[in-house]
């Protein structure tokens, strides 16, 4: 089957979504299909640009290429999933969140635009129509499926997939640090973790790995750490290689991952694959589908004191932390998350 993965790419920004699309192509090709990515560049400011990108997507024809039929397209991100096709399957990573769950929150910017309400309604309207065009709809996680049901009244099937290089994650003897690998971005809440570091009673140390979407936020986090006197506790590694990431997971005492309402969250899964406990928050979305409080990790309130207490608990109880990590790995294994299952569902 000739399959196109249609997604959206913000030029020079790379994260989980890009890896996800690449891994899906790999999995489809492994299963004998011919797959490629069609990535639409996306710009969301000024907000009128969103509408123009939507229109551009609707004007694309992916039904065939060079005289050969494209059998299926798999839509993943807005507005690329608006591209019409008679055999469109949706595997939704997330919608344009500023128009949905982030509307009115600190993280959503569309509400600050003069025509924000109008654009929001146009997005919802187009989404509803695009979803009705699909032959089947899957969501990246239960959380994404829940949002789709809540905002658009559309049913979808949660479909988990393994993180990249899932088979290479492992566990070593622990060293004195917790690990927080993620793009430096306000919604990932590195800020909360730095503030929590200032509240810890133990010499908790955190290694932050990841590139900032914009350098201002990077500088802000470093200044915050300095202001709170935690520069020695908060270590910024910057962007690290896949190999370094896997080793850093393996040797960590545990993983912290407190984003605001994450869609899915590779970090949680990678931590579990490395047999590490995860500290997350009650409003962290996708990670809550995997972390069970005091079984596979700790779930704190999204405030510095509560998060600090959770980190202290892991720091003080190393053997318990190890046990939580082990239970996390067992839980992951029990879910039978595999690419072959994913491909089978998307192509059937």
């Amino acid at each position: 089957m000739r399959v196109l993965i249609v997604t959206t790419q913000v030029p020079f920004i790379r994260g989980g979504a890009e890896i996800h699309a690449e891994e899906l192509v790999k999995a489809l090709n492994t299963e004998g299909h011919e797959a490629e990515i069609v990535a639409i560049p996306f710009k969301w400011y000024p907000p009128e640009r969103i509408l123009e990108h939507m229109l551009a997507c609707r004007l694309l024809d992916l039904t065939e290429s060079c005289g050969q039929v494209v059998d299926r397209i798999i839509g993943m991100k807005f507005p690329a999933y608006l591209i019409p096709h008679p055999q469109k399957v949706m595997w939704l990573l997330h919608q344009y969140r500023s128009a949905y769950d982030l509307w009115g929150t600190h993280y959503g910017d569309l509400i600050n635009a003069a025509n924000g309400l109008q654009i929001r309604e146009a997005i919802v309207n187009a989404d509803n129509k695009a979803f009705s065009e699909c032959i089947s709809i899957f969501a990246n996680s239960q959380n994404v499926a829940k949002r789709l049901k809540y905002f658009n009244h559309i049913e979808s099937i949660p479909l988990y997939h393994p993180p990249r290089n899932a088979e290479t994650f492992y566990c070593e003897n622990t060293e004195d640090y917790l690990f927080f690998p993620s793009r430096l971005w306000s919604i990932k809440r590195q800020e909360l973790v730095i503030k929590a570091l200032a509240e810890t009673t133990n010499p908790v140390r955190i290694l932050f790995a990841g590139k900032a979407d914009n350098n201002e936020y990077n500088e802000y986090l470093k200044k915050l750490a300095k202001k709170l006197g935690v520069t020695k506790k908060a270590v910024f590694l910057g962007e690290i290689s896949e190999k370094e990431k896997i080793i850093t997971y393996a040797r960590s005492l545990g993983v912290v991952y407190p984003p605001f309402d994450e869609d899915y969250g590779y970090v949680t899964l990678e931590a579990m694959l490395s047999s590490k406990p995860v500290v997350t928050c009650t409003d962290s979305g996708g990670s809550l589908e995997f972390v069970r409080h005091e079984e596979t990790g700790l779930i704190a309130e999204p405030n510095p004191k509560s998060f600090a207490a959770a980190m202290d608990q892991l720091w003080e109880n190393r053997s318990w932390a190890q046990a939580l990590g082990k239970a996390g790995k067992e839980y992951y294994d029990s879910l039978n998350i595999s690419w072959s299952t994913v491909v089978q569902k998307l192509i059937s």
């Binding site: 609707r58 009115g104 309400l117």
Partner: protein
Amino acid sequence: MKLNWFSPIPPAQTGIAEYTMRLLPILTNYAEVLVWTDEPKWNLDIEKYAKVRQYNLASVPWKEINQADLNIYHIGNNSNFHYQIWQISKQCPGLVILHDCRLQHFFAGIYREKHNDWQIYASYMKQYYGVEGEQASLRFWNGDLTTEYMAEYYPLTFLALENAVGVVTHTKEVFQKILKHKNRWVVGYAPLPYVSKWQGTRNGKVITPPYRLIIFGYLGSNRRLEVFLKALSNLSEKNQFRLDIYGQVWDKNYICHQIQQLGLTNLVKLHGFVEEAKLDSALANAHLAINLRYPTMGEASVSQLRIWSHALPSLVTQVGWYAEQSESTVAFVRPDHEIEDIQQHLKNFLANPLDFSHLGENGWQLLQDYHNLENYSQAIIDIAKKSGKFRHTTIAYSFADKIGEELSNWINYERVDMDIRGVAQAIHFIST
């Protein structure tokens, strides 16, 4: 329903501020209203009914504005009161309530008096009226054409509606015009509401000569005072009438001279501006109101509603909003037969004053039935609900403009049929 209400509010000296003040106690029974003003101070009485927020164009609090279901913008001809509102409406689509239907005074006020920017003014005139409009704008700028002339032939009404999703008019004529001109807005007609402050009785008036005639308001040349004086002076029964003139006359010396020349000194009295209560008292004691306008800007007349609130019969010019009224509520004067019609009505009045009283009574009933706050509030809410649903569909028009402009650069329209259809379908997908 939650509404943002962009309107002048007291102490702003405008009828629209007064209208908002009177409407809010009723409107807020149907919706949560947040009033927005660009003025730093306001009459605190308004906060009995709605919260008030201040905005300025340099830093508009869109986040708070976007919490409401719809913005309602009040647009009238005074650029001092409505310029900032229009600026907001250009950025954030909403429902426009047209208090004036010919908005040339408004735009001339902005671009000639405030900004002295002919380029922008002329570009709008060209956009709406082509090369002819552009040329007229130059003649207007040079003082060869009056604002009244421009308003008559180039009203620029649609410029105020460019980003609107809905429009409310107070006249049936404008309602029909907007419907016909472009089918792109939710359009509603709602008779302008009026609440009288007059506490006195309207019964028991003695109807015996001399009969009291009354003219009031801002008396510009379009109020036909000269014509009326002439008609009265040539009437053989003129001594059975007394004419009271209240308000500001455009050229008092000239009018005084006319009164003298026409031999009406004993019959006509100029009172100038008086307090509201005194004017109401004069209206209560009058037998016939003279409410002529030619030309007219076409909008609903608050003066006429006030006349009816005293159950007072009236002569009106058969143009604009006045022409929409029933013959059972007013006596019409045709613009091209003014003296003839005025004299005939005055003679009819003398012959049977009671028949004229019925006009006033019918007008009073009309006021109660149609021009009341309750009906008006419900109409606004209905139109606002429809407009809210229509909001994202207006995106199609901005797309069409943009794509049309882009395509015109590189496409031969005689050969495009299918391409255009594809674009239209894509726009339809997003916006409807």
